[in-house]
């Protein structure tokens, strides 16, 4: 006997995602993940000035706009042969560093932890922390937002650890706000910064800016060292089985980020590289000709797999399959492949490609492999690594030095911009004619991770991570959401509509025209 379980949408993620699994004898035997909103951003860009891509593509993402501005600026610079000054490289590294800390801290405390930590434990709090006492009274009054909805069938932490982690949930918000301030200092505003442009950056490097950044760096390093990483390490042993759940394809891809003065992505703090077939100590070079995007199971006009530099975006919605087992198209995401293989991207991929000793030691100590737990741990250790390096990045800034190249002439050409978003490798490909966009394609991290089957029928990384999982309670399949959430999904089309329909009292609020 098999049955289909559907989770739609998966909540506490960015964007809209549906997962379906076929469960037989309590075990997932097949899985389908669908991005359910059409992304036609590339079509909006065609015919516009190339520089518009920097501002427009940022709007695709609700939580990590900065990597879009970096990747699109790099693509344009590559197309036009623009060199950026060293200060601009450092500013981009710094703004990315703060963006990653913002995103990783938010992801752990505000999106992931609620699958493992039970804030309801605060009802038993007996101390005097005013924020926890506030929370205690809210919970007593039955007001549990924003911790709900959730499945509460598998909480394992002792009460004191639940309370501590809940206290840190609140502390993390204060820290998160500090990240936003640092990004705004470097990018002019936040969200959707305007300070990263083709040719460099726009912020003036002053001694005051440097001093302010030093303050933020200290605070963030302190939080990573004394709160974030210790919390992950304290919680991990209670969920050690998740060190073998949600394994994934065993193929990892990182474009690399935080380049040094030599601009060599293989020599970056987080270097470029690929790993295939679970051979996690064998890091190879990336072959940029090896990319292809498949649409056999995606809602686009059929065609041979294409390299993104030649990519097309021609929608062809063929309906939602009544039963995913019947086959046919089922996702708005394309299925990107490298050398024909589905690739996992994100902190685990980056830290494995880096062969990060801290992560490898921890995995050996906990006896875990690529998994839910490994992804969460890699994200925390990566945040700490980035925070450790921020002071030396700040020291590289040259006050009053050039931050952008001299004026350039937008001409014609093809370019590629490869960088990293908190969720993984991000690539933009541009073809420009006379300063205008003739074609623009992006492969964003979640397309790598959440994409559907390819022309060969190989499931995508999420799908592979789900297959084989034991589901204890089909009505509350928390194993599945824990797996998906460990990747930090972002379907990158956040719609922000206040929905009053459920209120059925909308007329009460209508005002005259």
């Amino acid at each position: 006997m098999s049955r289909i379980i559907t989770v739609d949408p998966v909540n506490r993620i960015e964007g809209h995602l549906k997962i379906q699994v076929e469960v037989e004898n309590g075990k997932v035997v097949n899985a389908w993940t669908s991005g359910t909103l059409f992304r036609g951003l590339e079509n909006i860009l065609r015919g516009r000035k190339s520089e518009d891509a920097v501002l427009i593509t940022q709007r695709a993402c609700g939580v990590c706009p900065i990597p879009y501005s970096v990747a699109s600026s790099k693509a344009i610079e590559d197309a036009y042969g623009i060199e950026i000054p060293d200060n601009a490289r450092v500013i981009r590294n710094l703004i990315q560093a703060f963006q990653f800390l913002n995103s990783h801290i938010l992801h752990f405390y505000h999106l992931v932890a609620l699958d493992y930590v039970d804030p309801a434990a605060v009802a038993e709090y007996k101390g005097s922390d005013p924020e926890l006492l506030d929370l205690k009274s809210l919970i007593a009054a039955g007001d549990t937002a924003p911790f709900t909805p959730r499945w509460d069938n598998d909480f394992r932490l002792p009460t004191d650890l639940n309370i501590l982690a809940t206290k840190h949930y609140i502390d993390a918000i204060h820290i998160y706000k500090r990240c936003n301030e640092a990004i705004a200092l470097l990018g002019g505003k936040f969200p959707h910064a305007v300070g990263i442009v083709p040719g460099g950056a726009t912020v003036k490097v002053t001694p005051t800016l440097v001093t302010e950044l030093v303050g933020y760096a200290k605070e963030l390093k302190d939080f990573c060292d004394n709160t974030y990483v210790p919390d992950v390490l304290a919680i991990a042993p209670y969920y050690q089985d998740y060190g073998h759940i949600g394994v994934g394809p065993g193929n990892f891809l990182a474009y690399g980020m935080l380049e040094g003065a030599d601009r060599d992505p293989y020599n970056s703090i987080l270097p470029r590289g690929v790993i295939f077939d679970g051979d996690i100590n064998n890091v190879q070079e990336l072959d940029p000709a090896g990319f292809s995007e498949h649409v056999a199971y995606s809602y686009y006009e059929d065609g041979n797999p294409r390299h993104p530099s030649e990519g097309e975006t021609q929608p062809n919605f063929t309906g939602v399959p009544a039963d995913p087992r019947d086959g046919g198209k089922y996702s708005w995401l394309k299925a990107p492949r490298l050398n024909g293989k589905p690739m996992e991207v994100g902190p685990l991929a980056r830290m494995l490609v880096r062969q990060d000793a801290g992560l490898l030691d921890l995995a050996a100590k906990l006896k875990i492999g690529p998994s839910v737990l490994a992804r969460i741990a890699a994200r925390a250790l990566e945040a700490q690594l980035i925070a450790d390096h921020i002071p030396e990045m700040i020291a590289e800034l040259k006050p009053d030095g050039k931050v952008a190249c001299a004026q350039y002439e937008p001409t014609s050409g093809r370019g590629v911009g490869l960088d990293e978003a908190p969720r993984g490798a991000i690539g933009h490909w541009i073809e420009a004619e006379g300063g205008r966009i003739a074609n623009y394609q992006m492969i964003i991290p979640t397309t790598w991770n959440a994409g559907p089957r390819d022309a060969m029928g190989q499931p995508g990384p999420y799908e592979q991570a789900l297959i084989g999982t034991e589901v204890k309670d089909p009505e509350r399949p928390i194993e599945l959401t824990r797996i998906i959430r460990s990747f930090d999904p972002c379907i990158a089309c956040a719609v922000h509509v206040v929905d009053l329909e459920k209120e059925k009292i909308a007329a009460k609020f209508q005002v005259g025209c």
Partner: protein
């Protein structure tokens, strides 16, 4: 504060309104914020304001272009869609703001019923026609 996704037609209403207000000008002490779609990122701005007027697309069941006004505490969180398409919806962000002391004295939402939410940088004609009225209502809130 305009919120929404500029790439998704009527969902971008809040951002279009902020741009219009920038052209019109606002009294001193008032800040216009393009909040995008970033949920919790808005806490910084909530935290330093006495009153926030949020401009957003609102599905209230009226005709496309219908305008709504309500204060954040008039709509109970339980009646909001619990599985927001966004990382955290406005109510969840406000619930967090209460926890962290970032809650302004007053949060007013001025919304317009969307006609279409699809990939497009322009508003639909029905919603675009209400932009001036929305800005007028926002200015009234600022004075009130």
């Amino acid at each position: 504060m305009g919120i929404g996704n500029l790439l998704l037609k009527d969902d971008g209403l809040g951002i279009h309104a902020i741009r219009r207000l920038e052209e019109m000008g606002v009294p001193p002490g008032v800040e216009l914020i393009d909040g995008g779609t970033s949920g919790l990122d808005l806490l910084n701005d909530f935290g330093r304001a006495k009153k926030v007027v949020v401009i957003d697309a609102v599905k209230g069941g009226g005709e496309p272009g219908a305008i709504y006004r309500f204060s954040a505490d008039e709509v109970h969180p339980d009646r909001m869609p619990l599985t927001s398409m966004h990382q955290l919806n406005l109510h969840e962000v406000l619930a967090v703001a209460k926890q962290t002391g970032d809650m302004p004295d007053k949060v007013i939402v001025i919304g317009v019923e969307p006609k279409a939410i699809e990939v497009d940088l322009e508003l639909s004609p029905e919603v675009a026609a209400k932009l001036d009225r929305v800005c007028e209502l926002v200015l009234q809130e600022i004075k009130g």
